[in-house]
């Protein structure tokens, strides 16, 4: 069972602003950096609710 971390107050990246970079593991465990993923052209970044 997962304990929900308390919410913090981040900021939604706004239109025309530069989104902050991040590094996260992909489904094979390999680290992927946003700035690398986007470097080759526009990137569609999809956040979804997850598996249930």
């Amino acid at each position: 069972m997962t304990i929900a971390p308390p919410p913090n107050h981040g900021t939604l990246p706004k239109l025309g602003q530069q989104a902050p970079d991040f590094a996260l593991p992909d489904s094979t465990g390999a680290a992927r950096r946003l700035s690398d993923l986007v470097a080759g052209g526009p990137l569609v970044l999809l956040f979804y609710r997850g598996y249930w």
Partner: protein, 140 residues
Amino acid sequence: MAEYREHYKAIRAAGASLVAVSVDAPEKSEAVRQQLRLPFPILSDRERRVVQEWDIYNPKEKGGIARPAVFILAPDRTVRLVSVDGVSARVPAADIVAMLRDHTDTMPTRRKRLIPTLSTFFRAARNALRFGARQPKAQR
């Protein structure tokens, strides 16, 4: 996700790529990728670090999950589209493809968020006529 799978080739053909993010563990995301035969990577934000930093974190459901959201980022990470949904609706993938195809580098300023409008439905209908007949109906 399956809807975006159906539009993946069109997204790539428009010169863009696609990445999904959830708070699931990588093993779960891999299971989803295989089950839905997704051709794009799924990143795992288990610590909810990115979803909180980006203010798309919903702590009230299922131990804290991401709110459904779609961004289009330019190669320098400039936000070209941002859409965050309260529950589970999201921008139709066909609309994303249309934006990428049209090289809509900047959305008109009056549209700070992409919300469903009449023009969205007309465009979706037009895209359905142009592209939809050959594609299976999107699954959710």
